[in-house]
Symmetry: C2
Subunit: 472 residues, 2 copies
Amino acid sequence: MTPEEFRRVGHELIDRIADYRAGIAERPVMSARKPGETRAMLPKAPPQRPEPFEAVFRDLDAIVMPGLSHWQHPNFFGYFPANSELSSVLGDYLSTGLGALGLSWQASPALTELEEVVADWMRQLVGLSDSWSGVIQDTASTSTLIALICARERANGYGLAKGGLQAARAPLVVYVSAHSHSSVEKAALLAGFGRDNVRLIDFDADYAMRADALEAVVKADIAAGRTPCAVVATTGTTATTALDPVDAIAAVAKRHGLWLHVDAAMAGSAMILPECRWMWRGVEAADSLVFNPHKWLGAAFDCSLYYVRDPRQLTGVMSTTPSYLRSSVDEEVKNLRDWGIPLGRRFRALKLWCLLRAEGVEGLQARLRRDLENAQWLKREVERAPAWKLLAPVPLQTLCLRHEPAGLEGDALDKHTLAWAEAINSSGDAYLTPAILDGRWMVRVSIGALPTERSHIEALWRRLQEEAGAAG
Amino acid sequence: MTPEEFRRVGHELIDRIADYRAGIAERPVMSARKPGETRAMLPKAPPQRPEPFEAVFRDLDAIVMPGLSHWQHPNFFGYFPANSELSSVLGDYLSTGLGALGLSWQASPALTELEEVVADWMRQLVGLSDSWSGVIQDTASTSTLIALICARERANGYGLAKGGLQAARAPLVVYVSAHSHSSVEKAALLAGFGRDNVRLIDFDADYAMRADALEAVVKADIAAGRTPCAVVATTGTTATTALDPVDAIAAVAKRHGLWLHVDAAMAGSAMILPECRWMWRGVEAADSLVFNPHKWLGAAFDCSLYYVRDPRQLTGVMSTTPSYLRSSVDEEVKNLRDWGIPLGRRFRALKLWCLLRAEGVEGLQARLRRDLENAQWLKREVERAPAWKLLAPVPLQTLCLRHEPAGLEGDALDKHTLAWAEAINSSGDAYLTPAILDGRWMVRVSIGALPTERSHIEALWRRLQEEAGAAG
């Protein structure tokens, strides 16, 4: 495609995205497509000859759009907010259009140094001390895998340069909460620890990890001849946004030489609000932490910030220096390939840079405070409504709730819960994620999509009452 | 940012990218920035208040652009072609603008199904049988890590569900070529094998892995009580685009139960040309393979295709099913989170879909053939030029060459090589990557940037002769 054709089609694309975002509230939130339906509309073989881009736009409208769920919709209350703020979208457009690749510092100096600078801006924004160094990874799943591999190597005397995990003398053990994200156990399994060496630590009434239970399990492992290796504390768990007590967990970690990784994938964005920072009190004692500006904060996916206290513990595990990647300035610069798994990297700093400049710290803070207030409003409504139950504290923007009509319990209650959630989801009016808590289905309301205002929360609350009443 | 502001700024952005691509040949290929120079131009703290996007564009011009190396430049001959074709750029723009996230099939059905379809189109395009299933990963580094973790688990009886690699009875061993990409050894170390259990297999005069040497080392390991686990064959190595004999390696792998992973990160794109497919003859016997449409083919980074013969061996290692990710259709659909490390995923299929439709198979084939012919032209010139030496076969688009004036050898020759390469690189006229081959520096000329025509190769050849002659 020539630059002139790109210009022509690109202008149309910009208008299409602007129109999409401006009119998104008119669409059903979730796609009603059935499995295989989209696939059946697409040709089985690739096109032999070039087609005009108008044909692509036509199929986009006819085939792709009805198969999409609209994460940027004001009535999207599922999973978590995955905001792709339009200023950040433009930053990502710059990155893709410039097509520069960051194999090494030398391969594009500004790509690396802008990433260093915005990672440091974000560090300041969430109130971390200047002893942290940050880098952008794709997702928290990957960041946590990196953390556990680094923990493994530190505990194992950097055995990767020798016999690897296969030569570890005593089994290394990882400690997680039963409410940790599924990616944490997955990371431990991928890193080779084995499920037998992953301990699910008990939680308290608020679904937060119990530091005393952690201590007891660590001691039992030591007594049995195993080597405690790492603990993952979560600030804002997926199901209920529970807050593991980072300070108490850090004390246990320090006593027993554990690597402490803090998973604040979702809640880390809230730390731009000084009034929220108590939620991860103790974080300065961690070895690594991750939070995802591509969630609530508004950076276009993928943008996961991974911070470490001692970069040598990361680069010592991740670095490779074949001759074709060497350059004369290697001693003076950061080569970000040594800070993660992939060698190649996009110019991802641009999307964070554009977001921060276009919105300003104050703009971001105001939006997050709006969402926290909306969550508190809904919390008060639910608390005073008969038959409705709030199942967990609401420190952030997620509510866990259930409609419990008199006489309904057990499997019948589960059936009721899933029925009204499904009725709302399939209506297209809003999207909510059901999840299991204490063995029973409940429904999460995750507030914080970019265009979600109080009026949307009020409308949601009316729909909840309607549907649950009808189903009950 | 409102949709209307996005529209206004977005139109300017499109014009800027179109102008950038149209005028890219006027820029020096590589940035002359010194370490720390870009960082020093940026504010130390994030902006408190929103700024107009014009300020971002101003800083982009003044601070970022002079710090970029231009991978889309016609005189970019470094590393490998990392083409970001403008139709693919538009596909990526759609993805970011729509902001849909593929946590699961249900989270956006079309995102998953279009990825299935274009991965299958690409399978057909490179001539693979329909017994392969594909998925988009970020990079070949990640794809190879996934392959080695899956190999580890298969060899270890899926021990991740039990004691992990820590409980493996005999050390598992991985076999790679001394010319494998650095990411292969890195993957083996991250997967926990340990460097003591990574064998560098000897290569022949063309830098291709020797299958007989592989067989001998495997047998020695078995005799010593170790368990051969996986071998990585490369189609098109990084330094010289050497072609490991996949069929002969596959025979060894089959005899000893090794997982065979084929790394065709760079050369895989060439398999859209039927006349190139002899290069990976035997590939149908592999367990997994990776190639990167984000290199020569022109898909915007990141787009690495990972194919497996038995998806259950992948999903058995990667899948997790917490309640908040379950849906009623899970039995009928692919959940791509179970095909890789990250949970979240962009709508990456769009950039491949747009590339294939806008260029057509024939358009892509014509461009790659142009590049192969350009490489052969330069090869002939080098072969007949006195004092110039071609150091490896040229099956694809990369030449390894050295200027060897009479009387120069050893360290003096290295000095000469690095001097003329540095002179060209720092002139900004072209970019080439020096690398070490057989203990001596040589220079790689990697042909295949989108706008590189014969005239650019001719100009490069004149520059090479000028600079090497001057330095000699």
